[in-house]
Amino acid sequence: MASYEITVRRNGAAGKLEFTGGGVSVNTTCWWDANHVIVAGEYPSWRTRMNSKKDSVTKEKRPGIWLGKNVPYGDGSKTSDGIFIHEGTGPSWSDGCVVLKRDEMMKMWNAIIPDGTANVLVKVVDGAGA
């Protein structure tokens, strides 16, 4: 059973990312690439860092939440092993990942302890009332 939950509520071209845990609450706008949309569902995920990108402030490896292997996207016929939640200021920061402003990302990321284990459940849901 996951220790933490992140909910991505999609409604049109943007959405809301919700997280509560470790004494922290996040409810903030998030974005993604409209050409590579994750199939709605639940994904056991990991707190980690990305080797391919650097944090925009510290220049260390970028903090991220990795959604695991074989995440379906589009019509569900294809999958990706490389979808993360990470910092970004709009959909242009995504080629398939979910992005949110850095301050909110770091608030959430720092509250998730420990890393290295799939203790985060990312729920991707569609619709404003979902």
Binding site: S52, K53, G64, W66, K69, G82, F84, G96, C97
Partner: protein, 178 residues
């Protein structure tokens, strides 16, 4: 099938940084490209996270080696391009997002070497030119600067790629709209 054979030859030829590294790198690249079960590569240490992290470490090392590549056959640059190419084939969005920025930076630093490497690896040419275009739509970049980039590099594209290669590159470049 012929295209895949060329990919396999590139993989086999350029990964001999050192014998110990070559086996690991070759294994990771082939397994990632072909979506093979990687448990045997990690033994008792396998976890999905370890697999993802190994790929990320390979990416980071290849990026640094490409920047410093002084090999006669430009294997460091070719290896890095291959990783970006594989990322697109496998819809590895996290790697694609990194490559968007890193490949453009490599090109800006070493345009003649990158184009010469592309001339040797034609199967990667369209995808790499799409990446160069994609940079201008990514993060805070300005799509209006694409023409200036092309104007600054079109002469060396023709010199290294020939007319046909230059045309193929620019076709792929301008086909990217977002």
């Amino acid at each position: 099938m012929r295209r895949l054979a060329r990919v396999a030859l590139v993989v086999a030829a350029v990964l001999l940084a050192s014998p110990a590294q070559a086996a690991d790198r070759s294994d990771l690249l082939i397994h990632h490209l072909l979506d093979l079960d990687q448990q045997a590569l990690f033994g008792d240490d396998y976890t999905p996270l370890a697999e993802m992290e190994a790929w990320g470490e390979l990416y980071a090392a290849a990026r640094e080696e490409a920047v410093a590549d002084d090999s006669a056959d430009r294997r460091g640059i070719k290896t890095f391009m291959l990783i970006g190419w594989i990322a697109r084939q496998r819809a590895d969005f996290g790697t694609i997002e990194g490559f968007n920025t890193d490949f453009k930076a490599l090109f800006d630093a070493r345009p003649n070497d990158v184009l010469a490497a592309l001339a040797d690896t034609e199967f990667m040419l369209p995808e790499m030119c799409r990446y160069l275009a994609g940079f201008f739509f990514f993060e805070d970049a300005d799509p209006d600067k694409r023409q200036g980039f092309v104007d600054a590099n079109t002469h060396r594209m023709e010199r290294h790629l020939g007319e046909a290669g230059q045309a193929a590159c620019l076709d792929a470049f301008w086909a990217v709209k977002s």
